[in-house]
Symmetry: D2
Subunit: 362 residues, 4 copies
C-alpha cells in the first residue's frame, strides 16, 4: 500500500509538510493498541535527526519539538491514528529567491517543476530532507513496538568518502554510535571523518558515504516469497530516503566475487536451535528472515547543495551561474543514521503485523 | 499496493504457481484498453527466460508455451484482467525427496518451513525462479505499452564473477545483447564469462555477478518526491527477484567516492531542451525522472544450488550432508536479463499511469 | 486494497475471465497456511451457483468443474496463492451478434463500450454474472477458515417481487435453504416465488427481490471505527455483485421509522457475557462487530435480460428494436444466494486477519 | 486502498483526531496540482457541518475554523499532501466520566473497549461524528476539482421519521437546500421536520431518516465492471458515515417491486447523444456511470445519544442505568448532508483519476 506519501501495509504512515511551511507532520495508522508512546520517546529520535546539532551539520536552527495530537491516551496508544506535528521556525524563504529562477544541479527543482507545473521553491518544499521528520517520529513509535519483541535496530556511519570504519555487527551498541557527532562507532575513523567533513565545509563542497545497519533479535519468518520479500521492502524504504543511491543486504555487491561454495551459509544446529555458520545472506533467505542478524548498507551521494558557483539554466532555459545561499549539510550521513533506523523499523513492524495476520504467529 | 504476490498500483500483476505444480500464471489488472498484445509477444520474452535455452543454463526441459486466457480480443486488450498461463511439464518431484528431509543452504527451504509450518519441497515450490514466468509474461505486455511511448528498456550482463564488460549505455541494442548465450553485449567479455560459467558447472559450483540496465526515452516527471520515488519502486521490484542482493542507480555506491562538486550534474539548455552534462543521477532526481537515461545495476549472488556435498541440518535439527540432485543454473544472470527488464517495465508503466492520473499528462 | 478485479486487504482475491472466453478463474492471496481446502469444498458452492441447476434458472449448460492449480498441497493450503480455474464450455458467441450492433437496455454494453472503446459482446464479457465463479470459489476457501472460528454465514431469498418469506435468523439452517430451488427457507413463500418466476419466464419477463443473510458466531471486535467499518466493507462487497441496487444492515431503512428510545439496543449481562436485548444494530456498533448476529439485506433488481422486443439504439446511435436471444435467468436471486454468502465470507476473513494483525487477538 | 483511516486509491484522504483531543485533521494525498483551494472554500463546507449551527443541532460550541498546513501555495495545490487542521475548543471531558464506567446503548463504547482493550471515553473518542470534519474538509477540495469537470453533487434531507419531502432531482439547487435549517428543499416538509425534531429534543428522544443525493454532469465511464463498481465504492463511503444503516442507488429496494420490462431503462438517441428514457439504474450500469444523473439514498438511524435514563451494563458487567449528559443532536440528518456530499465527491474524484489513469480520457 506504499504510494505517494504513505508507507506500509498494516502499520502505515502518511507524512506531510513543506520545508518552509507552517510545520511537518505524520499520521501513523494501524498501530497496535496499548503500546507505550510518549513525546519524549519521539523527541529522542528527532533530536538525533535535527539540524544544528553539531558543527558538521547544517546551521538551520530548529528545535524540532514534537506534539502528539491524537491516538495516545495516558501514554498508551488507542489503536487509532497517531498524529505528530513539528513546527517550522527558522524558515527563511528569502534565501531561496534565486532558486525560484534557476534549477539547482542534482536537486529536485527541475523535475518537480516539470512534473507538477508548480513548485514551492523555498528550501526544496516537499523534497527537503525536512520531510523525514515524519518518518523519524513514526520510527520512534515503531521502536517501542520492536522493543516489546526484543528486536534491536542499530545504524551507523560505515564510510565517509574514502574513510571506512571497522564495526562488529554483533556487538555494536547505540552508545558507541552516539559517542561522536558523525555517528561512527569506530573512534579513529570517526575522527578522520569529522576532519574530512569540516574540510569539505571549508571548501564549500560536500561528501557522501555508506550507512550500515544491523538488526538483532529478528524472529524467523518475516517477509514473504515473492514481491514482499523482506529485502525488497527494506530497499524500497531506504531508497526513498533523500540522497540515497544504492542498497545491499548481506554480502551485497561484493558477494558477486564469491563462488556458491564459498557464499552459501551452512546450517548448524546448536541445542536444538538452527543457525547459519556464516551470514552472507544477511539474515534473509528467500525473502524471509532466518533469525540471523539482518545486515544492510545504504549509499548516500555527496550533498547536492554546495556553496560554490555552478553552471546551470534558468526556468526560462537560459544559461546562468548559481551559488546557493541556503544553509546545508556538507555530509548528510550523521543525520541520516536515525532516518535509516526509522525506515528499517517501519518495515519490520509492518512485516511483524503481516506475519501475525497470515499465520497467527508472533 | 505491492503486497504478497501482487505488484503495482494501477498496472498490477498477481502471480501464482509452484515449480512442480500444474502450471505457472499471472493476472494483469488495470491494463489500458486497445493495446496490441499477442501470445507471440509474450513468448518472445518467455523464450529468453526459459530453462534449457543454452549449454550454460539448467537442463530442465520446459517449452514454457503461454496461453492468454482472458482480457484480449482480436489481439487488443479489453481493459479487463489478462490471465496468462504456462504449463509445467518436466516436473520431477522425486529429485526432491532429500530436500523434504533437510534444508538446502542459502535456499528458502528453512525459512518457508518455519514461516508457514508447511512447504512444497519440490523444486522450491513458490520460491523457485520458475515463479518469474508470470513477471516476464506481464513485462511483455508492459513492453508493448512502453513502445507506444518510445521508451526502451535494455538490460544485459555487466559482470560475471570478476569479468566485467564494457558497454555504452547510449548505444547498446537488444541485438547486441542477444548475440551470445550469456547476454553480454561486449563480445570478448562474453566469451570469458561463458568459459567461467562452464568451468563452474564442471566443478559443480556457481557464480554470480551484476546486471546493468538502461532505459532510454523516459519522459520527465515519472515518480514522486517521497515514498514512491522512482528509484525506490525500481529497487523494490528488482530486489524482489530471486538471488538479488543489491541495487544501485546512477553513480550508486561508487558515487560515494566523489565530492559534490564532481558528482552534481550540471544543467544545459540546447535548442530549448534542458539536459544534464553528466548523468551521475542515473536519470532520476528527487525521485522523479529527469529525461536522461535511467541507468541501474542489480547484484545477483552465486546460485545457491551447487552440485557438491554440503553440511546442513535435517528438518529434525540433526547434522547431515546434502548433495542436491535437482537441475540448476551455474549462473542465473543470462536468464535474469529478461526478468530485470520486466520488473523495470512494470514499474515504468505503473508510474506512467500514476503520473497521468494525478497530472493528466502523458 | 480493493481495486479493479482485486478484493480484500490481507485475504485478497483477484478474478479474471470473460463469459465466453476459455475459462474463468480466481487467485486467492494471503490465505493462512495449513487450512484444509479441496476441490470438493469449492465444487459444493459452485454447484449452488451454476446455471442450469433447476427449471427457474438459465438453461446455459455448464458443469463448472473447478481445478485447484496452486497453493494447496495434500489438501492443505501452503500460504502461497491459490489459483482456481473453471472452463467455459457452452459458449455460443453467435447468439450475441446482434448485441455487437446495439446496446441492450440496462446492461453494461453501452457503458463498457464508452469507457474502454472496445468490448467483448459475447455474453456481456466481463460484466456477465459468470465472473462470480471466482468469488464463489474463493468464498468456499474463506468458509473453511470461518468454520475454524465457528462463524456461520447463511443467506436465503427473503423476497421475490412482492412475496416475502418469514425466516427466523436465529435458527435458519443451510438445509432449510437448500430444500427448494428458489433457496427460500419458508416453504409456502418458496412455492409462491417459484410460481411467480415460472410465470415471468413464460411471459419473457423477469423479477427481482431481496436476499437476507445472517452471520452467527461472530466474535466481538471485527471492523474498525472509520472507513473500514464492517458494514461499509460488507456494503462494498455486496453492491459489487451484478444486479444489486441496495444494502442495509440491522434495522436498515425501516429503522428510520423508529425513535432512538425504541431503536437503541439495551445491553444486558448474563453470566458475565454481555449481549443486547434487541438487535436493531444488526450485530455491528460503531463499525465493529458486537457479538450479536450480523443481519443484512441486499436488493437485486429484475434481470435486465428479458426475452421481449425492446426499443434501444445501435452503436451508431440509430433507433432500433432488440429481442435478445441469449439464455437468461428470469430471476437472479436463487443463484445469488451463494454469491452473497461468499462476499460476506471474504469480508469476514479479511477482517479476522486485520484484527489479528493489529491486536494480536483471534 | 481504503483501509482504516485512509479512503481512496489515487485521491486518498487520511483522517485523525479524537472528539476531545487537541484537534481533528486530514491529510489529502494524490491531489492534482494547480487546483484552486482556499481555507474559505473548506470553511464554507465545515460551517454546514459544524455543531451549534441551529436550534435543532447539538449545542456544542465549536467554530471549527480550519487551517491549511501544507500542499497549497498562493491558493493553488502543489500536488503534495494537503494537511488541514481544526482545533477542538469546547471539550468537556468531565461530561463523560459516567461513560468511562458504563457502555452507552447502541454506541461504539463497548465494541471499542473490547476490540482495543482501551478507549478514549470522552465524546466517543474516534467514533464521534466529529471525525467527519476531516472528510468534509477533503470533500471541499474534491468539490473544486469536480467544478472543473462541471460535475455537481447535491444532497438534502429526503425524509425525517415519517415526513417525506418531494424533490425534483433534475432541478434542485444548493440554495434550495440551504433555505432552512433542516436542509430539506421542500419547504412544507421542512417545516414539519423541524417541528418533529424540536419535539424529540423536548422529549429527550431522537429520530432518523433518509438523505438523498443527486450527481449531475457525470461523464460516461466512471467506475469499473467488477469490485470497483461505482455504486460499490459509493456504498463503502456512505456506509462508513456514523449512524448510516442503508444505501440504495436508482430504484433501490423499491425497484424490486417492478418487472424487468418496467425497470429497464430504454436507450434513446437525441442529436447524436445517447441517453435513457427512465433512470431506474440511477446513473450507473454495470458498475460504470452512463451519463444520467446518479441518484442515491442513505438511511440514518435515530441518534443513539438520548437524554433519557436507559438500562445498560457497566464495564465490569453489572446492571446499571445511564442518563447521558453529553450534548447531542436529536437528529443527525441536517448536519449529515455535507458529509454525504463529501463522501460522494471523494469517490467521484478518485474514479475520475482512476479512469484517466487507465484510459487516458478525462
Amino acid at each position: 500500500m506504499t504510494l505517494g506519501n504513505t508507507f506500509g501495509n498494516i502499520f502505515r504512515i502518511t507524512t506531510w509538510g513543506e520545508s518552509h511551511g507552517p510545520g511537518i507532520g505524520v499520521v501513523v495508522d494501524g498501530c497496535p493498541p496499548r503500546i507505550a508512546v510518549s513525546e519524549k520517546d519521539i523527541q529522542f529520535e528527532l533530536n538525533r535527526r535535527r539540524p544544528g546539532q553539531s558543527k558538521i551539520t547544517t546551521p538551520r536552527k530548529e528545535a524540532d519539538v514534537c506534539r502528539i495530537l491524537s491516538g495516545v491516551l495516558n501514554g498508551k496508544t488507542l489503536g487509532t491514528p497517531i498524529a505528530v506535528w513539528v513546527d517550522n521556525f527558522d524558515a527563511r524563504s528569502t534565501d531561496y529567491q534565486e532558486i525560484e529562477k534557476a534549477y539547482r544541479p542534482s536537486h529536485a527543482d527541475y523535475t518537480t517543476q516539470m512534473k507538477y507545473g508548480i513548485r514551492d521553491a523555498a528550501g526544496g518544499g516537499r523534497s527537503s530532507a525536512r520531510e523525514t521528520i515524519g518518518r523519524v517520529a513514526a520510527g520512534a513509535i515503531a521502536k517501542n513496538i520492536l522493543n516489546g519483541h526484543h528486536i534491536e535496530v542499530i545504524a551507523y556511519v560505515k564510510r565517509v568518502y574514502d574513510i571506512e570504519a571497522e564495526v562488529n555487527v554483533r556487538s555494536v551498541r547505540l552508545r558507541d554510535v552516539e559517542k561522536n557527532i558523525v555517528r561512527c562507532p569506530d573512534p579513529l575513523a570517526a575522527q578522520a571523518m569529522i576532519s574530512t567533513i569540516e574540510q569539505m565545509r571549508a571548501e564549500g563542497d560536500s561528501v557522501g558515504g555508506v550507512i550500515e545497519a544491523v538488526v538483532r533479535g529478528v524472529p524467523v519468518g518475516l517477509g514473504s516469497p515473492v514481491f514482499s520479500k523482506l529485502e525488497a521492502d527494506l530497499a524500497q524504504g531506504l531508497l526513498s530516503l533523500p540522497a540515497s543511491k544504492g542498497f545491499e543486504v548481506g554480502s551485497g555487491f561484493s558477494g558477486t566475487f564469491m563462488r556458491g561454495s564459498e557464499h552459501n551459509d551452512v546450517f548448524e544446529a546448536k541445542k536444538g536451535k538452527i543457525s547459519t555458520r556464516t551470514n552472507n545472506s544477511g539474515g534473509i533467505q528467500g525473502g524471509i528472515s532466518n533469525g540471523e542478524n539482518i545486515v544492510l548498507r545504504v549509499a548516500f551521494k555527496p550533498t547536492a547543495t554546495i556553496l560554490r558557483s555552478q553552471e546551470t539554466v534558468t526556468t526560462k532555459g537560459k544559461k546562468t551561474n548559481l551559488k546557493p545561499r541556503g544553509r546545508h549539510d556538507p555530509c548528510v550521513l550523521p543525520r541520516a543514521v536515525p532516518m535509516v533506523e526509522s525506515m528499517i523499523r517501519l518495515v519490520l513492524v509492518d512485516h511483524l503485523l503481516l506475519h501475525r495476520a497470515q499465520t497467527g504467529e508472533e
